[in-house]
């Protein structure tokens, strides 16, 4: 078991390097002249040269690549062009807010969705199934930022129950600021998870071992919860990685709507103000997040499914 985990961690390293390489290609090779893009068309030659020297863009490409990898590993991205703060500091400040939003939204999304999905499958065709499917459908269509906007308008602006901006200080205050954003993200997530749970459970109930359980005289409840659900949860756990990641990407827009601090709003702000080092850092942070979440989910899955990673 430990061996499998270690092997997976080990195997993630080349993936990490490949991801960083892709990011590097995107950053340096795609957009053309970065200096021009950042400083604008009217910049003088001197300003351009200055910029290039400052950001290391005048070095040969292979050196840039090595520097990039090393810097990423050390988390050294230089200083923000607009505020001159260390970028690493900026990220450190913003990251916790994004993480708490992602976790809160994922919890809301799964804790609500899975029981409803189960009930939906068990009572297929009845009112609970039909209404949950309807809400799932809505969740697929309504953009999360729109839901966030509506929640903001109704509960924060009009009713004043929740704050209209900021991330809050201290545990309770943070929760208060977290409520609406997490709800907006979480409900949309719930729509997906609910549907997935339902279809996964329905598929499992047609399997042979469910028939065997019935043949033993097990009650329907036992069949569903002890036999079907355990197996149905497997694809849901796989989907969990994607769920967390898509919650992460949704957080960007939500942070904007609720004027919340976070890596997403940091990135978008930096794009607007053409704060190149911060943009770089933002992309790398997100990319690292993706690799990390996938890794953790891989390991988790191998722990849950006895068939995986077993030396037979």
């Amino acid at each position: 078991m430990l061996k499998t985990i270690l092997w997976r961690i080990f195997d993630a390293i080349p993936t990490l390097i490949l991801v960083l390489t892709l990011v590097f290609v995107a950053l340096r090779i795609l957009p053309g002249d970065t200096a021009l893009a950042v400083l604008g068309e009217h910049a003088s030659a001197e300003q351009l040269a200055n910029f290039r020297q400052k950001t290391g863009l005048d070095q040969p490409i292979w050196k840039q690549y090595i520097d990039f990898l090393i810097n990423s590993a050390q988390f050294n991205f230089g200083n923000s062009l607009s505020t001159n703060f260390s970028v690493a500091q900026l990220v450190k400040l913003n990251l916790p807010y994004t993480i708490e939003l992602t976790i809160a939204a994922t919890i809301i999304g799964t804790v609500i969705a899975i029981p409803i999905g189960v009930a939906s499958a068990v009572h297929k065709g009845e009112w609970i199934d039909n209404s949950s499917r309807f809400f799932s459908l809505l969740g697929y269509a309504i953009p999360d930022f729109f839901l966030g906007a509506v929640l903001l308008i109704v509960f924060a602006l009009n009713l004043g129950w929740f704050p209209i901006s900021g991330g809050g200080e201290g545990f309770v205050d943070k929760l208060w600021h977290l409520a609406l954003p997490a709800l907006a993200l979480g409900l949309i997530k719930a729509a997906f998870t609910c549907r997935l749970t339902r279809s996964s459970l329905l598929e499992v109930t047609t399997k042979d071992y469910v028939r065997t359980a019935r043949a033993k005289g097990a009650s329907e409840n036992r069949v569903i919860y002890r036999h079907a659900l355990r197996n149905a949860l497997l694809p849901i756990v796989t989907g969990l990685a994607l769920a967390i990641l898509s919650t992460l990407s949704g957080s960007v827009a939500i942070e904007l709507i609720f004027s919340r601090p976070g890596v997403g709003s940091m990135l978008v702000g930096a794009i607007e103000s053409r704060d190149y080092p911060v943009v770089q850092a933002g992309i790398v942070v997100f990319a690292l997040f993706v690799v990390f979440v996938n890794l953790v989910m891989d390991i988790l899955y191998s722990l849950i499914d006895p068939r995986v990673g077993h030396t037979s």
Binding site: L18, A26, P31, F145, I153, V268, A287
Partner: protein
């Protein structure tokens, strides 16, 4: 309900037998027409498409005309959804916004499909190192949710129509590639392909005649559904300021501008939000119907 006679034979009630032998399109129409909700959204979709094509004739005003004289007016007979903080007619902006959303939302997945299928098919068919490299890159790209990938790519590209197309294509092409590759791989291992090669049929012909039709099937199943996702993606990116730039209207940036002006006039946000939701929902429902016809086993 016929009475069951012991000697009547295996098939007792034949009334349903004739349903099966009709073409796919007819079956699709049956699926759509039979369910009132789906039918409703079919017409919604039709309406959205018509509106986007005839935008110039349907919208009463130009979407970019500003005027300080009529800021933030409420809905009226002239301005159906009122005006925004720049004095622009919200309704017209939403009507014109449908164009951006639909063009980008339909064009990009189609392009992504072409590119993705080519990569996936070639990789899957010829195998070897092409497949290994392409496969690895595709896997990595797939690990990113489409939105995140979109944001990251938009971050490095300048804004503009074709940049948006590029962003959306990069977000979706890997997904198409994976489907095409899986389909190709399973077909490639069939003995009849080897037989065809041995008989001297060129790779090109084999791909064209045997592999492509099958791959096309799996692709069509998801295409409509991913158009819905693309529309949603474009809206989100525009909302973030990474997509269609003002003053060119897109449902996403209408919400963005509208958000800063919420207290004065909520209509841009509400109107554009509804427009997105309805359109995405419509594409989803039709997409589901298409999938039910082409791949009934996927239905739950």
């Amino acid at each position: 309900m016929s009475t069951i006679n012991k000697n009547q034979g295996g098939l007792i009630d034949k009334s349903k037998k004739n349903k099966k032998d009709i073409s796919l399109i007819q079956q699709l129409w049956r699926n759509i027409a039979d369910d009132r909700l789906t039918l409703f959204f079919f017409f919604v979709l039709l309406a959205v498409i018509v509106i986007s094509i005839l935008a110039r004739f349907i919208a009463p005003f130009s979407p970019v005309d500003q005027s300080l004289l009529r800021i933030n007016e409420g809905p009226s007979a002239t301005y159906l959804l009122g005006t925004d903080q720049y004095g622009r007619d919200v309704y017209s902006r939403i009507v014109f916004g449908s164009r951006t959303s639909l063009i980008l939302g339909v064009l990009s997945p189609v392009l992504a499909a072409i590119i993705g299928v080519t990569v996936g098919l070639v990789g899957g068919y010829f195998g070897g190192w092409i497949d290994r490299i392409a496969g690895r890159i595709i896997d990595i790209l797939l690990a990113f949710p489409a939105l995140l990938l979109g944001i990251l790519v938009a971050a490095v590209l300048s804004s503009g129509f074709w940049s948006m197309v590029a962003v959306l294509v990069i977000a979706f092409a890997p997904r198409f590639a994976r489907i095409a590759r899986a389909s190709t791989l399973s077909l490639r291992s069939e003995p009849f392909i080897d037989a065809a090669i041995a008989a001297g049929v060129s790779h090109f012909q084999i791909i064209l005649r045997h592999i492509l039709p099958n791959v096309a099937g799996s692709i069509v199943v998801v295409l409509t559904l991913w158009i819905a996702t693309a529309i949603r993606l474009e809206a989100t990116l525009s909302f973030l300021g990474l997509g269609t730039q003002p003053p060119e209207p897109s449902w996403g940036n209408i919400i963005r501008d509208g958000l800063h002006n919420m207290t004065a006039s909520p209509w841009p946000v509400i109107g554009a939000g509804f427009a997105i939701s309805l359109t995405v929902l419509a594409f989803n429902m039709i997409g589901d119907s298409i999938r039910d016809v082409l791949d009934p086993e996927a239905r739950v």
